[in-house]
Amino acid sequence: MIEKTLKGKPAYWIWLAFLGMFMAIGAACYIRQYNFGLGMTGMSRDVSWGLYISQFTFLVGVAAGGVMLVLPYYIHNYKEFGRITILGEFLAIAAIVMCMLFIMADLGQPMRALNVILHPTPNSMLFYDMCVLCGYLFLNILCGWVILTAERKQVHPPKWIYFFVYLSIPFAVSIHTVTAMLYCGLPGRHFWLSAIIAPRFLASAFAAGPALIVLACIILKRVAGFDAGKKAMNKLVTIIIYAALLNMFFVGLEFFVGYYSNIPGHKFALEYLFFGIEHHGHVYNNLVPFMWAFVILAFGAIGLLASPLAKKEDNDFFLGLGCAMLFVAFWLDKGIGFVLGGFVPNPLHEIVEYVPTANELAITAGVWATGFFVLTLLYKIAIGVEHEIE
Amino acid sequence: MYNKGTIIPGLALFVLFVTFPIWFNGLTTAGDLPKPELPPGGEKQCVMPADYMRANHMQLLNEWRDNVLRDGNREILEIDGKKYRKGLQMACMACHTKKEKFCDSCHTYAAVTPYCWDCHLTPNEAASKEAIH
């Protein structure tokens, strides 16, 4: 099946070359960072995790989001998702590849990464994160490949694969739960120390992941003649809207707990993120525009997706716009605000703001490009098989 | 034989390329056995016999590392009346004061680059910034 990636229209090759350019720039920048150390980034003693870990956190969600296709199709036998389930599984693969690259980019001593396996430490959440991420990656490769092969041969998939398909569902939940536990189990970081982090992560994942799949379907319809079907799209949109509303509800609950209890520790990070904070005569409000953009985009996207505009048979512009807005909104929420906000204030109640460096941004863009490169190849295979059996 | 003109020179080049390590080491000094310089202070005795150290110093260093750091066992070794504090910097470098002439001579030959000296100070390095002692 891999041979399908080797034939394509010029646009396909131009797109791959375009991504390849970012990958090359990212790789060159990574070599600089590798040689100099993480001092090449904007991270500091007080904001010790930056863009890499926040992207990782967001992308774990994108990977988990694929389960919103697998679950209705395999458990509830919702046939409309039959054609796009594979897109969810392949998206999960690409997202986990990005997650792993971001983790590697973030390590101070990447050559020692295998110490996590050589000296396994069950009391560390990172150990479990490694286990579930590798497990979920393996399950998606296995299930995606076996089912696509069966589809290509026009036979039923072997029975044993269903065990792994069903197993991948709790795994999808677990990857994001364990990722949330990286944060919510740390004493002294009030913004993260909240039992609602895992459900909040899952809610935003179940909106952002499917939103990206809807976007992918719209693009594939235009460039590859792949039609996922309006019914499947509408069902996905329903899932997205509910998940997005849940996420906004959970964010609202954080506000309630912080502001009604009036406990400074609970309030501080929210205040910093959404309103900015004045501390010793200096105003810190780096992230305020991002957070308000998140709120506006999220509610705008929910409104747009719920309106008849998004359901038009002949025009999917508004559907695509809504999904893009929602994806960006939740990227701002989780891929920027959540991780960076947690470091403010630091354990000694000082405020240090984080600004990524150009080198760091280039590496981040390079990893995203790698993810989309992998995604393009995988989708090329999936669509190629679909066309072959038609 | 077809294409004699390309095959034979090609083969010759290939053989030359494959045997590169042999003739390169023969022609240059890169292949000569390293001669690590013995301790400048004239020390004859080590914590273990020279044969053992030659083959296993890395394991011993790892063992010391785990003793000192992980088990908190920093007891001072006494071997034939001489006292040694466990540690590359504190025991080994006390006699083998010239890392460049001792450690490096074999490590370069064997093409290994242990990361010991990313952290541990050689006497030379330590002297470069007026040591406290």
């Binding site: 003693r45 101070g108 001593q109 560390s124 002294g188 | 910097q89 100070l121 910034k129 040591a131 406290i132």
Partner: protein, 279 residues
């Protein structure tokens, strides 16, 4: 032929996975996989003989040696330059780099105002002495350290021998999970090669390399030689810092604790710090 190749690839794949996974499984099933509980098991063997008969606080029976310190801020204020010399002694002893910018800073022992060090104590109308004296901050060598819980490689761990929370720089992968976990901000990361910023070398101690985390080690290397930690020694003139075994009722540090009212940092987090302050 084709079938055989597939079969071979399958077997090779499964064996490769098993090969990678096996060491981890073996290590996990061996006795002391859980670093923190492993430490306690071992510590039981060292139980201080004097403590055994006393039965102090049944809930938290003292086990083994637990090193800790009491910092007397009244004495610290007597000689204002004292803390600076303690910090300098720490920097000298451990080859700590001095970066000009706060972004790269490496701090084992440092100064901060009372209100920053003691966040859960009121600094509303505190006495002039407290408000004007910088407080020393350092690793608390917690009895239940969150950083040890977070570390994915056991590069940081609690020594069974004396309760010190130590680091193995050889093993640290630089994930900085411990920095996020530490509620005291006691951990620093080497964002770049520290050597150019080390002013003077102590030939008896290594430096660190880029990409690893470091923090106060309660001067484990000095304790081994029967010396006191560098900061304690630097404050010897006034005796502002007392150091010793918190579990030994006869120790000097216990005498101070028995006679004075002391406070600790962020006790509500359950970390059980081993550093006490007399304000």
């Amino acid at each position: 032929m084709d079938k055989q190749r597939r079969k071979f690839l399958k077997i090779a794949g499964v064996s490769a996975l098993a090969g990678i996974g096996a060491p981890a499984i073996i290590k996990l099933t061996s006795s002391n996989a859980v670093a923190s509980s492993g430490g306690q098991e071992a510590a039981a063997g060292h139980a201080a003989p004097a403590a055994a008969g006393h039965g102090v606080a049944a809930v938290e029976a003292p086990q083994g040696v637990r090193l800790g310190m009491v910092i007397d801020m009244r004495k610290m204020a007597e000689q204002p330059g004292q803390l600076d010399s303690a910090i300098a002694a720490c920097i000298n002893a451990h080859n700590i780099p001095e970066f000009p910018d706060s972004k790269n800073e490496i701090k084992w022992l440092w100064k901060a105002p009372f209100q920053n060090v003691f966040l859960d104590h009121s600094s509303y109308h505190s006495s002039t002495r407290v408000a004007n004296t910088p407080f020393p901050a350092l690793c608390n060598h917690c009895d239940d350290p969150p950083c040890v819980r977070a570390c994915p490689t056991k590069a940081t761990f609690k020594l069974a021998k004396n309760g010190v929370v130590a680091m193995d720089f050889h093993r640290c992968i630089g994930c900085r999970f411990c920095m996020a976990a530490c509620p005291y901000g006691a951990r620093s990361f080497n964002w770049q090669d520290p050597r150019p910023y080390i002013k003077k070398y102590n030939a008896d101690f290594p430096s660190r390399m880029k990409g690893v985390v470091e923090k106060c080690n309660f001067c484990g290397e000095r304790l081994a030689l029967g010396q006191e930690p560098a900061c304690v020694e630097a404050c010897k003139a006034t005796g502002a810092i007392t150091f010793g075994d918190l579990n030994d009722p006869q120790s000097e540090v216990r005498q101070v604790l028995d006679n004075e009212f002391t406070i600790q940092r962020k006790t509500n987090l359950g970390t059980k710090p081993s550093v006490f302050y007399i304000v």
